[in-house]
């Protein structure tokens, strides 16, 4: 009989190995899924995980890695702080949308003025928008004890409605022949978040993600606030005994996560996406939850996990067009990644023991 025995101390080595293990198991299970859909599993897995990096058209796909990975990493870094402290902000998608609306709003308000300060203002507006949207569940939790999971999640749908109303109303392009969607900021140089180095996919949002990773690392490892965040997640009573104020921590963690998600949305709307449209948001805010956990809530891990998730997005697109794999199948593979990670995670805290069934 197999039994689980708690380890006296979590295994350091396994906490590094389990994400890799989860990726491998996902590839196997994903392969089975593709086989069940009547596709050649080896070709499908190769198309998703290999083609974008080393295939024929890799030079086109590789920059996409940063374009897609940037927002994922930025959002996941913010979420990881809260997740470490046991504060579950599930509504990053909404904060991302609001950040984009606020950023685009600033740009559209100044249009067509050309000034150096427009882009920085947009960054601030995006961050503030995401922050404010995250403050709603945070304050409700602190004041009334509401569940931040539900409130933040429901606010995603409110944000989506707001996005639709903006795309169809207030922010609709007056020169857009009545089509929904705002002006394209890619054609407004003062607001355009273009590539910093041509052909790499590197834009300001990617740079912000790396800067945020460095700050997050310092915060968690060198600063008392990071220590309090980790302590609250590990042992809430001990944190209270130590003098941590839980309400303050909720406000900080939710606020930082919201601001980073809002910035991610702003960089996206000013760059790769270019305009506020009905279909502006593509689920980065939700995928970032997977990225955060896949990356072990650790800044370096999150960068790697963000790039991996970006790869599945790009590879998924390739597989869709080339192998006619349904989009839902790709999303399932992404979901499996989190599912298997949580499953193999048990191994870091427990070891598997074979025991003979005792006879009474």
């Amino acid at each position: 009989m197999l039994t689980l025995e708690k380890r006296p101390q979590p295994s350091k080595a396994l906490s590094y190995i389990t994400p890799v293990l989860a990726v491998i198991v996902t590839m196997i299970a994903g392969g089975l899924l593709f086989a069940a859909l009547g596709k050649d599993p080896v070709v499908a897995i190769r198309t998703i995980f290999w083609e974008p990096l080393f295939g024929e058209f890799a030079s086109y796909y590789r920059p996409q890695l940063l374009v897609k990975g940037g927002p994922l990493i930025l959002i996941a870094l913010g979420l990881s702080l809260g997740f470490r402290a046991g504060i579950w902000n599930i509504g990053a998608e909404g904060q991302y949308i609001i950040g984009a609306i606020c950023g685009a709003g600033v740009a559209l308000a100044f249009y067509p003025l050309d000034a150096w300060y427009i882009f920085p203002l947009m960054v601030i507006a995006g961050a503030l928008g995401g922050w404010a949207w995250a403050m709603i569940p945070a304050i409700l939790k602190v004041k009334f004890g509401t569940n931040e999971i539900l409130v933040s999640l429901m606010l995603v749908y409110v944000a989506e409605q707001l996005l639709a109303s903006m795309a169809l109303g207030l922010m609709k392009n007056p020169e857009g022949y009545g089509f929904p969607g705002s002006r394209n900021l890619q054609q407004y140089p003062a607001a355009f978040n273009g590539e910093l180095i041509a052909g790499t996919g590197m834009h300001w949002g990617v740079a912000a993600a790396f800067i945020a990773a460095i700050f997050s690392y310092i915060l968690l490892n060198r600063h008392i606030l990071g220590f309090q965040i980790r302590l609250t997640g590990e042992a809430p009573r001990a944190a209270k005994f130590s003098g941590v104020k839980p309400a303050r921590l909720v406000l900080i963690c939710m606020g930082v996560a919201g601001a980073l998600a809002g910035m991610a949305g702003m960089f996206e709307v000013a760059g790769p996406s270019g305009q506020i449209t009905l279909s502006f948001n593509v689920g980065y805010g939700f995928t970032a939850i997977i990225v955060a956990f896949l990356g072990r809530l650790h800044p370096v891990g999150i960068i790697l996990a963000g790039l991996l998730m970006a790869l599945t997005y790009i590879g998924g697109d390739v597989a869709q067009s080339r192998l006619q794999l349904p989009a839902a199948a790709i999303q399932m593979v992404q979901g499996m990644l989190l599912f298997f990670l949580l499953a193999v995670d048990v191994l870091t805290n427990y070891r598997i023991k074979m025991t003979k069934r005792e006879v009474a």
């Binding site: 600063h223 008392i224 980790r230 042992a235 001990a238 005994f241 003098g243 104020k245 005792e358």
Partner: protein
């Protein structure tokens, strides 16, 4: 092997890194009260868990009433006539007594029948208990009666009791002993686990003494002095904490009518507690578990806030200040529960040193942590309090309870508190380490600190305290000099016997 109820031969059980029991053998006669004596960590618990079927021995065998006895699970043990009352109760607070008893039965009768049965047994054995009362409202002593009656309903041949008196007032201990003597007279054998020597001398016929997992001797407790038994148990003569005589100084900590509501549903609210502790004084607070000790510590630590004037430290009103501010001002505390409250289980000892020491030990600067200094602080605690651990990078949960206790107390003591409040400072710590901890508390007092020791161990309080009071249902008794108090008086201060006092009249 005729005549013996239970024979144990060569029981051995090893865990990774530690041998809990090595080749232990002894016999229990029918109708005998047999003591299992040893320090914390001597292997008593593992041994009885093997008898009760919770742990499977690596080798050795047991014979119960002439038949080979290998219980695979507690249910098998109960079927064979072995029952056990644990030190920590497994009762549901929100259910009543009868429902709790029914939950432990394979085929429970109707609640009304069961209630009648409970009343029968409780009267027969002098254990007053109302089957319809909600367990959450019962005192610790009454809860223990629920557990005992649950066992007695199975009509056991052997009753195992693990440290039963640690939650009882002296009067309640008398009631329990009367019950146990009655059971013995009816032919039930009792395996009685304790490290309290006087109790064992009063109650037990035979004693088996364990040290570091091995049986080191047997004795007839009635004919052996407590000192002799202690020496067998510890293996060497015990160092008694000593203190230089001090003249109490100015009042350092004062509580003025402290009343707070417990945050927990079945917690105990504090009602109008007033006390003063002077520099150089050790105040001992006794009380049966669950009478407001945790709440008092939380209210002093700043986890539960009160009105400003209710807690006064060196003349400053701090009742509304949080833990960080109080620590800064010199009021340090150590809660009873080590894992999860005093320490974070998955974090290293270095990180746990930071948990309370960051501010006072200057382990951070402008919010940035100085890991090197934190590590040295952890190492200093480990060294001075002889914490057995591979090093400061070890996770707190990997330490044994006693070792973590030494670390947690040491962490506060080494921060040179002006006022130190500790709850159950030596709980689960072996005798020599307990002496080190008590000595450290006394040394702090001599150095001019005011110390409050909350404990359920009366011997400990008598050893360290200058003044003595007891908590009972969230109220504080009058404070009296510890010298010259009799057990009788202490018992009354603790609230006497909870429930009916006349059970054995």
């Amino acid at each position: 092997m005729t005549g013996k109820l239970l024979s144990i031969r060569g029981l051995t059980k090893a865990y990774p890194g530690v041998v809990a029991n090595s080749d232990v053998s002894f016999d229990i006669e029918p109708g005998e009260v047999h003591a299992l004596l040893g320090e914390n960590g001597a292997g008593k618990s593992t041994l009885v868990k093997m008898i009760y079927g919770l742990v499977k021995p690596d080798s050795g065998h047991m014979v119960l009433q002439g038949r080979e006895y290998t219980p695979a699970e507690p249910q098998a043990a109960r079927a064979a006539g072995v029952a056990m009352v644990f030190q920590h109760f497994s009762l549901f607070d929100a259910l009543n007594v009868a429902e709790n008893v029914a939950l432990g039965m394979a085929n429970p009768p109707k609640t009304s029948e069961l209630a009648a049965k409970i009343t029968d047994v409780s009267e027969q054995y002098g254990l007053p208990l109302d089957p319809w009362k909600i367990v959450g409202d019962l005192s610790a002593g009454e809860r223990q009666r629920v557990e005992i009656i649950r066992c007695l309903l199975q009509d056991p041949k052997l009753l195992i009791m693990d440290e039963p008196t640690s939650v009882l007032t002296p009067q309640e201990v008398e009631i329990l002993f009367a019950t146990l003597r009655k059971l013995k007279a009816e032919g039930t054998s009792i395996l009685y686990i304790s490290h309290k020597l006087e109790e064992i001398r009063a109650l037990c016929d035979e004693a088996t003494i364990l040290r570091l997992g091995k049986k080191v001797g047997t004795c007839v407790p009635r004919d052996t002095s407590a000192a002799q038994m202690a020496e067998l148990m510890v293996g060497s003569e015990l160092h008694r904490p000593e203190r230089a005589a001090t003249v109490p100084g100015a009042v350092r900590l004062a509580l003025r009518g402290l009343s707070v509501t417990s945050p927990g549903q079945f917690g105990t609210s504090l009602k109008d507690i007033s006390l003063e502790v002077r520099a150089g004084e050790v105040l001992g607070l006794a009380g049966v578990a669950g009478n407001g000790q945790d709440e008092l510590l939380a209210a002093l630590a700043g986890e539960i806030l009160a009105k400003p004037g209710m807690v006064v430290l060196d003349g400053a009103e701090i009742g509304a200040k949080g833990p960080g501010a109080r620590r800064k001002m010199g009021l340090l505390t150590a809660p009873e529960e080590r894992l999860g409250h005093a320490a974070a289980p998955n974090m290293s000892l270095t990180e746990n040193a930071l948990l309370t020491g960051a501010e006072r030990e200057a382990l951070m600067q402008n919010g940035f942590l100085k890991w090197g200094k934190a590590k040295s602080f952890a190492e200093a605690i480990i060294k001075r309090f002889d914490v057995r651990t591979p090093g400061p990078e070890t996770a707190a949960r990997a330490l044994s309870g006693g070792n973590l206790q030494k670390f947690v107390i040491g962490r506060e003591v080494m921060q040179r508190p002006d006022v130190l409040v500790v709850n159950q400072p030596t709980w689960g710590v072996d005798a020599s380490a307990a002496a080190v901890i008590r000595q450290a508390l006394l040394d702090l007092a001599v150095g001019g600190a005011a110390i409050v020791v909350i404990s359920q161990d009366l011997d400990e309080l008598m050893e360290v305290a200058d003044n003595f009071a007891a908590l009972n249902e969230g109220r504080l008794s009058e404070i009296r000099p510890a010298k010259g108090l009799s057990m009788e008086e202490i018992g009354l201060m603790m609230g006497g016997a909870h429930g009916l006092e006349v059970a054995h009249a």
